[in-house]
Amino acid sequence: MAFTEADVLAGLAEIVAEETGLPADSVTSEKSFTDDLDIDSLSMMTIVTHAEDKFSVTIPDDEVKNLATVGDAVTFITGAQA
């Protein structure tokens, strides 16, 4: 069963909350990972890895730099589902 964008956003918010300690409801689509959520490149790789496991998708290493906002990641993950 494919995850909807809303499912992916909710799941990603949980992952980000776990990694950063921020409340999950503060992780919204328009937030920038670096500027708003203060996530550095190593934490980003941790989030990417957990997202790959959770949504059964592959996020290539050279794609990660294109995921500037939470919404970018939600769009990529939703589209990457088989």
Binding site: D40, S41, M45, V48, T49, D61
Partner: protein, 334 residues
């Protein structure tokens, strides 16, 4: 008539008999190196857990570091050079393609005519060599094997490089492996992934430097994000395999000694392996830096010397790095 060859056989078990360590004599702070990479003490601590790193002075060579560590390991094992019949040096920072560092070290220690050779397995080199030493002892190819992981990483750094240079330190760690009346070295789980060879690399080869001297001295680079992901999420799987192969669980070991690459990778290992808080975790990187092949024995020696670990403790150790290569095993600390 068929002639039947003899094949060697050895003792049933092997173990580490003694460990020795030698750090570079200089203490290099984050402030000392932050300028050329437009960084800060806070940024480096937050990203790596490193507060200071140890580096060797201009007059101290990989051979000097190796010899000093080896002498301490021999003392700890209650042996002399004459008792050693194989020397394995793991290094990627020795300046001679040939002869090997191992042959020179063997001679300095009075171990001649011990078999002697170098291996290139970067940050996995010590665990690779412990696996080899275990096999040599138990096959009867050697009675006592001296393993050395030695690096002078500071000879291959670029002060303006933000990818890896600021992590690196210098040192050597050594272990003597010999026969045992109990199992002291679990099965080595090891491997490589050359498809990721470019993720940690020398900027250019010696032949390229010969063709174009303007390239300057080669230094090291890494692609931090892919390497972090590989180390943090694939290497714990290898570490778990080493536990499984040894027949022990995470709550049955006393000590965890991962390659000291980055404190945040160490923290991920603890999470992924679900290590209980009772397990002592080596965090030598904080004031030694990443010393590649030397990092595991440096950390092990320190834990033993400071009393955080004791003789007889079960330790899970894992090395991983440029190649990419990795090796892990459970050992009984000497």
């Amino acid at each position: 008539m068929t002639i039947q060859l003899k094949q060697s056989t050895g003792p049933q078990f092997s173990r580490i008999l003694g460990i020795g360590a030698e750090r570079g004599e200089l203490v290099v702070t984050n402030d000392d190196i932050a300028g050329p990479i437009d960084s800060s003490d806070e940024w480096i601590r937050q990203r790596t857990g490193i507060i200071t790193r140890r580096r060797a002075g201009a007059q101290t060579s990989v051979l000097d570091l190796s010899e000093a560590a080896a002498r301490k390991a021999l003392d700890a094992a209650g042996l002399t050079g004459a008792d050693i019949d194989a020397v394995i040096v793991s290094t990627v920072t020795y300046f001679h393609q040939t002869p090997s560092a191992a042959a020179v070290i063997a001679d300095r220690l009075g171990a001649t005519p011990a078999a002697a050779y170098d291996i290139s397995a970067a940050c996995a080199g010590y665990a690779y060599a412990i696996g080899q030493a275990d096999a040599l002892v138990r096959s009867g190819a050697a009675r006592n094997v001296l393993v050395i992981g030695a690096e002078k990483m500071s000879d291959f750094i670029d002060p303006t490089d933000r990818s890896i240079s600021f992590l690196l330190g210098d040192g050597a760690g050594a272990a003597v492996v010999g026969p045992s009346d109990f199992p002291g070295i679990g099965p080595t789980v090891w491997g490589s992934d050359g498809s990721k060879a470019q993720t940690i690399r020398q900027t250019h080869s010696w032949s390229e430097l010969k063709e174009n001297p303007e390239l300057g001295w080669p230094t090291l680079r890494q692609e931090g994000q892919p390497v972090f992901k590989w180390a943090s999420f694939q290497m714990p799987v290898i570490a778990q395999q080493a536990l499984d192969a040894a027949g022990v669980t995470a709550d049955q070991i006393q000590v965890f000694i991962p390659h000291q690459a980055n404190m945040r990778i160490i923290d991920q290992f603890i999470k992924q392996l679900k290590l209980p808080e009772t397990v002592v975790v080596a965090r030598d990187i904080a004031d030694t830096g990443n010393t590649s092949a030397a990092s595991i024995p440096l950390a092990a020696e320190r834990l033993l010397r400071e009393g955080a670990a004791k003789s007889g403790d079960l330790a899970l150790q894992i090395g991983f790095g440029a190649g990419l290569v990795y090796a892990a095993q459970v050992v009984v600390l000497p």
